[in-house]
C-alpha cells in the first residue's frame, strides 16, 4: 500500500467519525479491513436518523471522480458543516446499508487507486 493511500484511508476514518460526532452520535463502532485491492470501513450505529442515513447513501453512492480526489483529498477529515459529505463521496466507491432493529450497519467500500511502490 502506498504512503499516499495510507494517508487517504486515515483521513476517511477521521471523516466518518466526525460526521457522526457532528450529528450528536457519541457511541458507535468503526472497524476497518485494509486490503490490497480495496478497503472496507464498517460502521455500526444505534438509532441512526433516517434522514442522515439517506443523505449518506445518496452522497456516497455517487460515481467516484479520481480527478476531484487528487485535487481535494487533503480536505477529507476536516468537515465543518453537517451536510458536507461530497468529499467523502468522492473517495468511496459505494456504501452498503443494513438495518437490524435499531442498529444500522454501514459498509463503505473504497477500491485502491494508488498502486504500491513497494
Amino acid at each position: 500500500m502506498s504512503k499516499q493511500e495510507i494517508k487517504l484511508l486515515t483521513k476517511i476514518v477521521r471523516e466518518l467519525s466526525m460526521i457522526l460526532l457532528i450529528h450528536g452520535y457519541r457511541r458507535f463502532t468503526l472497524t476497518t479491513d485494509y486490503g490490497k485491492a480495496e478497503t472496507r470501513f464498517f460502521l455500526n450505529v444505534k438509532n441512526l436518523d433516517d434522514e442522515l442515513r439517506d443523505h449518506i447513501e445518496e452522497k456516497v453512492n455517487r460515481e467516484r471522480e479520481i480527478e476531484v480526489e487528487t485535487y481535494g483529498w487533503e480536505l477529507v477529515g476536516d468537515i465543518d458543516s453537517h451536510s458536507e459529505l461530497e468529499i467523502l463521496g468522492l473517495l468511496i466507491d459505494y456504501v452498503e446499508i443494513e438495518q437490524d432493529g435499531d442498529e444500522t450497519f454501514l459498509t463503505f467500500v473504497r477500491k485502491s487507486m494508488y498502486k504500491s511502490k513497494e
Binding site: 458543516s81 498502486k115 511502490k117
Partner: protein, 429 residues
C-alpha cells in the same frame, strides 16, 4: 435537441464558434496572424493585455484556440464535464486575454503528465490541476522572450532562442511536475475557502522564481505592459451574449429551472463544490449566465471599461458558477472590496483594484458559510492584501495573484471563525 443543448460541452463549443467568428469579423486574416505572432512572442507576465499586444481579432483567436484545444482534450480523455472542469475551461479562456497562449501552456501540461506517470496514474486523474496550472505560464514565455540571454553571456543574438527555449520548457515542466502534490497540500492552508487554490500554490512557486531571478542584475523583472479599453463595447456585447446563451441553454432544458436556483444559492461554495454534479446542468448553466450579467451590472454601475484582464475576470467568475460561486456568496465580498477602495487611499484608477473587484470572489465561500457581514470583511481584507501579495511575486509570473492573496485571507479568517462558531453548521441543509 434539448438534450444536446443541455450539455455544458455544447455551450463551450458555441462559445468557440462565437469567438472565432468575432475574430474574423473584427480583423482580416493577415492582421490576426501578425497579432497572434506578437502574442506568442510576448513575455506575457502580469499584466500583458493581449488586446494591446495583438489586437482584438488575434486575442479572440488566441482565446478560441486555447478553448478548442482544452475541449478536445476533455473529449479525448473521455472526461465528464464536471463543475471544476467547466470552471477550469472558462478560467483558461479568460486568462487567454492576458497571459496564456498555446506556446506557454504546453510545457506545464507535459510536467503534470510526467508526474502522473511517476505516480502510475492516468493523466486525467490530475486534470483539474492541469486546467488551473497554466496560471504560471508567463514564466515559460519570460524565460524565452523576457531575458536577453545573448547579451547576458556575450553571445550572438541567435543564442537567445537556443538557451531561452530549453530554459522556458524545462522551467514549465518542472512547475507542472511539482504542482499536483503541492496544490493538494496548499488546500489545507485555507481549508477550501479559497476557490483559486492552485492560484495560491502557484503564488508560492512564483515567489521562488522571483527570488531566484531577481538575484541576477541582468534580468529585468519589471516588464508589465499597458492595457487597452479600445474594445470595451465589443467585449461588453460578447459578455452579454454569452451570459444569455448560458441562460437560454438552462431554460431550453428546464423551463422551471429558476425554481431550483435557490437551493444552489444556499450552498457555501467551499471546495470541492461541483454544482453540475450536485444541482444539475440546467441550474449550473443558469448560475453561470446570471453571474455573467451580475458582472456586467457591476462594471456598468462603477463605469469600468473592459480590457483584457477585466474580461479574464468576468469569464473566471462565470466559470466558477459551476464550482462554488453564486450571487449570494459573491456580492458580499465584492461589496467588501468596493468599501476597501472607497474607505482607503486605494483607487479604481489602476487595473489592479478593478480586477480585484472581480477576483475577490475567490473568497466567496467565506460569505456563503459565515454570512454577509463576514463576507464583506473578507472582501475588504482581500483588497488590502492583494497589492502586498504582488510584491512577493515580483515579475508577475503568477497570473492568479488574487488567488495567492485569497489564500492568506481565508487562512487568516477561517481558524478564528471555526473557533467561535458552533460545530453543527446549521446554516446549510
Amino acid at each position: 435537441m434539448s438534450k444536446i443543448l443541455m450539455k455544458p460541452r455544447i455551450a463551450l463549443i458555441v462559445m468557440f464558434v462565437l469567438l472565432f467568428t468575432m475574430a474574423l469579423y473584427f480583423d482580416d486574416i493577415p492582421t490576426i496572424y501578425r497579432g497572434y505572432i506578437a502574442i506568442l512572442q510576448s513575455p506575457s507576465i502580469l499584466i500583458s493585455d493581449y488586446l494591446e499586444v495583438g489586437g482584438l481579432g488575434a486575442t479572440l483567436f488566441n482565446v478560441a484556440t486555447i478553448l478548442l484545444i482544452n475541449v478536445l482534450m476533455i473529449s479525448y480523455l473521455k472526461m465528464r464535464m464536471s463543475g471544476p472542469v467547466f470552471a477550469g475551461i472558462l478560467t483558461i479562456a479568460g486568462f487567454s486575454f492576458f497571459g496564456k497562449n498555446i506556446f506557454n501552456t504546453i510545457p506545464i501540461y507535459i510536467g503534470i503528465y510526467i508526474y502522473a506517470r511517476s505516480q502510475k496514474l492516468d493523466f486525467k486523474s490530475f486534470f483539474i490541476v492541469v486546467l488551473f496550472s497554466t496560471g504560471i505560464s508567463p514564466i515559460v514565455s519570460f524565460m524565452i522572450f523576457g531575458i536577453d540571454w545573448a547579451e547576458w553571456f556575450g553571445l550572438a543574438p541567435y543564442w537567445n532562442y537556443w538557451i531561452g527555449v530549453p530554459a522556458g520548457v524545462l522551467v514549465g515542466m518542472f512547475t507542472g511536475f511539482i504542482l499536483p502534490a503541492f496544490g493538494a497540500h496548499t488546500i489545507r492552508f485555507h481549508k477550501g475557502y479559497n476557490l483559486y487554490n492552485i492560484g495560491f500554490a502557484l503564488g508560492v512557486i512564483s515567489m521562488l522564481f522571483s527570488a531566484l531571478l531577481r538575484s541576477f542584475e541582468a534580468i529585468d523583472l519589471d516588464q508589465g505592459g499597458p492595457t487597452t479599453e479600445l474594445y470595451h463595447s465589443e467585449l461588453m456585447l460578447l459578455t452579454i451574449v454569452l451570459s444569455l446563451v448560458f441562460i437560454a441553454i438552462a431554460y431550453v432544458n428546464d423551463l422551471q429551472v429558476h425554481k431550483k436556483y435557490w437551493t444552489l444559492m444556499k450552498s457555501s461554495g467551499r471546495l470541492v463544490s461541483d454544482y453540475i454534479r450536485d444541482y444539475g446542468r440546467s441550474v449550473s448553466m443558469l448560475n453561470v449566465g446570471v453571474l455573467g450579467l451580475m458582472c456586467v451590472i457591476v462594471l456598468w454601475a462603477l463605469n469600468f471599461e473592459i480590457n483584457g484582464p477585466i474580461m479574464g475576470g468576468i469569464l473566471t467568475v462565470m466559470g466558477f458558477g459551476a464550482f462554488g460561486k453564486h450571487p449570494r456568496n459573491c456580492l458580499p465580498v465584492m461589496l467588501g472590496a468596493y468599501l476597501a477602495v472607497a474607505l482607503t487611499d486605494f483607487t479604481f484608477d489602476g487595473i489592479g483594484m478593478m480586477t480585484a473587484l472581480l477576483f475577490v470572489t475567490a473568497v466567496a465561500p467565506i460569505a456563503g458559510r459565515y454570512g454577509v457581514f463576514i463576507g464583506v470583511l473578507a472582501g475588504f481584507i482581500h483588497v488590502v492584501i492583494t497589492p502586498l501579495a504582488l510584491v512577493f511575486q515580483e515579475g508577475g509570473f503568477n497570473l492568479y495573484n488574487n488567488g495567492f492573496a485569497a489564500g492568506f485571507v481565508a487562512a487568516l479568517m477561517i481558524p478564528f471563525l471555526e473557533a467561535i462558531t458552533k460545530s453543527n453548521g446549521e446554516e446549510e441543509n
